[in-house]
Point group: C4
Chain length 221, copies 4
């Protein structure tokens, strides 16, 4: 199981993936949980709390969209690391870039939640939001393609699985570009589009993981 390509003397550094996974899980878990802090609590002094809570619907919508998106990023990230045998220093830097983009998401989320109520600035906020989502999608795709190109992938993974995953990791990109354009004209529609996109494009339905869950498993993770 472990007779991987660890030629001694290779000049590049090979990292175990466990700390990269733990750090990524941490950042994604925190970003996804911080989102709730952005929902402004109606002041108790308000005459009608029920009305105030209902009026805050853009905050809930933004919460759900960002939660679904970060959740989808986490799922794809998990799929990638299931295939990963080890990491190199470029992969770790690309991963940090992805985390930078995802950790930034609470900021445009808040902008969207605020602006959906005051229709004036919707377009700016929703476009920023869409660009942020697009960047996350691009970096996730880059991460996978780099791992495939540099053979960081577990040797047990079949070539067809790798090809299949490479195909399936792409469609989100087109969707985000289309929705960014739609958002210039109909921002609220675009926000619901981002929700649908995150819900639909989450997991490859057909690709198979290298058979490690039941069998051997990486010793270091």
């Amino acid at each position: 199981m472990n007779e991987t390509t660890s030629e001694p003397g290779t000049p590049t550094i090979r990292f175990r993936t466990n700390r990269m996974e733990a750090f990524s899980d941490g950042v994604l878990a925190i970003a996804i949980t911080l989102l709730v802090l952005e929902i402004a609590v109606p002041t108790a002094a308000s005459a009608n709390l029920l009305q105030a809570v209902i009026d805050a619907w853009p905050s809930y919508l933004a919460y759900f969209v960002s939660f679904a998106t970060i959740g989808a990023v986490w799922l794809w990230h998990t799929v990638i690391t299931e295939f990963l045998d080890h990491a190199d220093s470029v992969f770790l830097r690309l991963n940090l870039l992805l985390l930078l983009v995802v950790a930034f998401l609470p900021f445009p989320t808040k902008l969207v939640a605020d602006s959906l109520r005051s229709t004036d600035n919707e377009r700016v906020a929703v476009t920023m939001y869409g660009v942020n989502l697009l960047l996350a999608s691009v970096l996730l795709s880059l991460l996978w393609r780099y791992a495939a190109a540099k053979r960081l992938i577990h040797p047990d993974a079949s070539d067809e699985d790798v090809v299949l995953l490479s195909q399936r990791i792409t469609p989100g990109l087109g969707g985000y570009v289309v929705l960014i354009v739609i958002g210039l004209f109909a921002p609220t529609v675009a926000v619901f589009g981002y929700l649908a996109l995150a819900a639909f494009i989450t997991l490859p339905g057909r690709a198979r993981r290298p058979s490690r869950a039941g069998g051997g498993g990486k010793p270091t993770s």
Copy 2:
């Protein structure tokens, strides 16, 4: 120990459980720790800090109830993953839904803490809070039933243990429904009820875990 049902060629993806556990631990740990941020600090300018601190009792009560509830969710989640052999993509999505609901809890917690002092809006806040707790309980139950139905459970687990856990994971649901109704008439009573419910219905007292702690253990976690 590991000759699980990993028929090669199976079209569904089998995930190791370790990243799902790490991500869930992260989200639950952050949600439970963020609760303290919702306790408004009395301004130092207040003439009598002791009085101000005592007057903030609804904040402490809400803190304890939410902490106990998220703690109970974590305990049950740990019981489920102790039985789990592997996850599939539907399980991971159900788990994300559960995390979405739990990560949302600080928001109604804050509403309850604020409204218990201004008796006017108590009913709305406490009902929202109860529905959130009920949803968490429903999703936890769904997670377990899905795992049992799809045979994601470790093959060493005895059938009686699975049946026993299925029975014990239910009662919380009835309690939450009853308390939501009580909360419509006596909100403060319901909040104490939620505290008692979280304290009592935490762990199955009789179910036995598959004997992994002392023996083999999952290789991948």
Copy 3:
């Protein structure tokens, strides 16, 4: 290494310690990192930022004391889990209580930071703070004693090590009681005392861990 006391048929649940460790690490890491949010940033409008930054010294002091204390809790918690073979459901509940107390600490920390500048309310804030620290110390001690009494400890651990650790885990308690009393008369002195206490009473200097680091190791963690 693994022929532990796992009599099949035992009615109590035996938990692997890895999720308890991960969840505790998460809560402690978040509590320790949230502390910085309590330091109020001087407004950029202030005529003299340097003076404003210097005037905020009670915030830095409170930050250091709480950081050192949570760090000490983490160190002791790590020592305990190094000895731990498995957990039971009571241990997990005691652990949740400890986490509840530690996760609450940012609140009195903020009170202390605010009140040290306005000398009026110092006594109330520092006493609350001290009681919180004392409770954390008591629960940490309880956790260890429960583990020792219920034989949750790794069978490789020598009896003398267990006795030694039981002796060394106590002194913090007396120190906190003394400092709480001192704090009633000289609050600022007590805060420096808490800093010294956290710095000194951190790790047992002589107790030996069961030899797992170099040798076998728990397979599941």
Copy 4:
């Protein structure tokens, strides 16, 4: 692989590194993710959201610099723990000191973001920021040197790798000292310098890790 220097009877405590890694990953992940909370969201009431978002550039700059720096600290920390066989209590304390300094970073980050707009107080804020970065770099270097001096390093690591890493972990220090001095005269230039420094000095390009990724791996992590 595991016949390490675990002489039984050694009086110092040997810790497995997994909890230290998990706790450090947690603190670094939280600190890096909290940074986004420091970006003030322009109020929706502002006439021109686009202008307001553009005017907030110092916040984004400070976000990127601090993210890159904490990312670099995490990368170096991972390199160190890849070489680490076990920890002792002094190493854990040094590590806590490093975490204290890194967890403090969001505070001067906020100061820098605020002051870059009001040119008056730039110098104070940027100097505080630089000293914080320098301290992190010094502690990271100390951590490695202590591990090398006390032979906490995995016995498989070659001496040349250890020497090489000792050389490469130093240059950041000089850079920070120079930039602190530059910051006294040209604060904004220094901030861009910190960004460049974090981007460049991240990973040793030549040092080789002990061959564990493909081969054995530590059993306990």
